[in-house]
Amino acid sequence: MGGEPDGDGSGDVSEISFEEFFRTRRDALRRTAYLLCGDWHRADDHVQAAFVALHRHWRRIRDKAALDAWMRRTLVRAVVDESRRPWRRERATAEPDDRRAVPGAADAVATRHVLVGGLRSVPPRQRAVLVLRFLEGLDVPATAAALSCSEGTVKSQTAAGLAALRTALGDALDDLRPAG
């Protein structure tokens, strides 16, 4: 297994490189997961699970340049998969979604909460498109690759996601416009 050191020391090197990747990427991935699922604790669950899966395969991964894409894809898949499962609906988040009750607030904290609350009401795949494009800064082709869909789907999901977000936010952030 990935975490067990080899007699020749390659295991130690492998562990060090994993730890370095973990240290440099954990916080950014937490932020992505947070916007994907709207809850820091669930975000931690998703990111930790992705890192655990990565660690188990770490030594066999040849293309380290693809790690970010793999982690991104794993996170999106985990969040979308969980959100569409019946048990997810049965065990909906304990935190009431009352953040949308702050429209019109002008300060940064309120704006932050308004946006996060609005995102939670956007369908999961549309939300994933928005997060990858506007938080991760991916272009349309990269987003399509991350979500295993066509570029046309990314464009339409972006438009639909922004429309859903705009609807959810009301007048709070009324200058959101579809981008494509």
């Binding site: 297994m1 990935g2 975490g3 067990e4 562990e15 730890e19 973990f22 240290r23 954990r26 916080d27 937490r30 932020r31 992505t32 947070y34 916007l35 820091w40 604790h41 669930r42 931690d44 669950d45 998703h46 930790q48 699970a49 992705a50 890192f51 655990v52 899966a53 660690h55 188990r56 395969h57 894809r73 794993t74 898949r77 985990a78 998969d81 969980e82 569409r84 499962r85 019946p86 048990w87 609906r89 049965e90 065990r91 940064a108 904290v109 704006t111 932050r112 946006l115 996060v116 928005l130 997060v131 506007f134 938080l135 800064g137 690759a145 295993s148 200058d175 959101l176 416009r177 981008a179």
Partner: protein, 244 residues
């Protein structure tokens, strides 16, 4: 500032919540969890091998000289297929104990060497789980899946969350790569009374089970290619439904 730039700024700000709790896990937690999963998988492989061996032994005892007995009429079709695939069931007792510890190290495709896992024809359906939280890598469910997809025997678990799901559910998510079509194979068993109210994905199949529950099977490709086992999902659902 363009609309996209403005949106990006809003998203970055929303994700940079200064009131966010500190990370709930560190590098050591990840490594420990990784090792724990590996150890658990090895234990599950050993347990599955033991079940297989016992089932084979049981079949050999109950059906001595089964070759000339017309017992297949009492067995459901999948069982007959398994019987046909192996005198292995009868011989498992002779070759056991095989090196169960090596099951994990065998890559996909090498699982042909694993014994065909014959559950007794009269075995009751697996039914709901009994833990406090559902095991995301249900060993019993995995053993049934591998009866249909033996090349998934060495597949590592796919990433899942640690959220506690009802213990009556069963769940399995494998990172598979059959024939160069990598992706995630997910199998879920929902107990009686639980309704899957979400619209099935294009590669998701559902069927009622023998225990009155529902089995859901889905395959999601890692890339733009085909979903793994896309042409075998129906076989998998057909196999699992009478056994769950």
């Amino acid at each position: 500032m363009t609309d996209d730039e403005r949106l990006a700024a809003l998203f970055r700000d929303a994700a940079s919540d200064p009131d966010a709790p500190p990370p709930a896990f560190g590098h050591d937690d990840v490594v420990a969890a990784s090792r724990r999963i590996t150890a658990r998988r090895r234990s599950a492989a050993v347990a599955a091998a033991a079940v297989i061996g016992l089932a084979g032994l049981g079949a050999a005892i109950v059906l001595p000289g089964s070759a000339e007995q017309s017992t297949s009429a009492a067995a459901p079709a999948p069982e007959s297929a398994r019987d046909a695939s192996g005198g292995r069931a009868g011989s498992a007792e002779l070759s056991a104990p095989y090196a169960a510890d090596d099951l994990e190290s065998e890559g996909p495709g090498s699982a042909d060497s694993a014994p065909a896992p014959p559950a007794p024809a009269a075995a009751p359906p697996l039914g709901p789980g009994d833990g406090a939280c559902a095991d995301r890598q249900d060993a019993g469910l995995r053993a049934l899946v591998e009866e249909v997809l033996p090349d998934a025997a060495g597949a590592p678990p796919a990433a899942t969350t640690d959220v506690c799901l009802p213990g009556t559910h069963r769940y399995l998510a494998l990172q598979v790569d059959p024939g160069g079509a990598p992706g995630v194979l997910s199998v879920a068993y929902l107990p009686p009374g639980t309704v899957a109210d979400s619209a099935p994905a294009p590669t998701e199949l559902a069927a009622p089970t023998a225990s009155g529950g529902t089995v859901l099977v889905s395959a999601t490709p890692d890339g733009p290619g085909p979903a793994p086992y896309a042409d075998r999902l129906q076989d998998l659902v057909d196999h699992l439904a009478p056994l769950l």
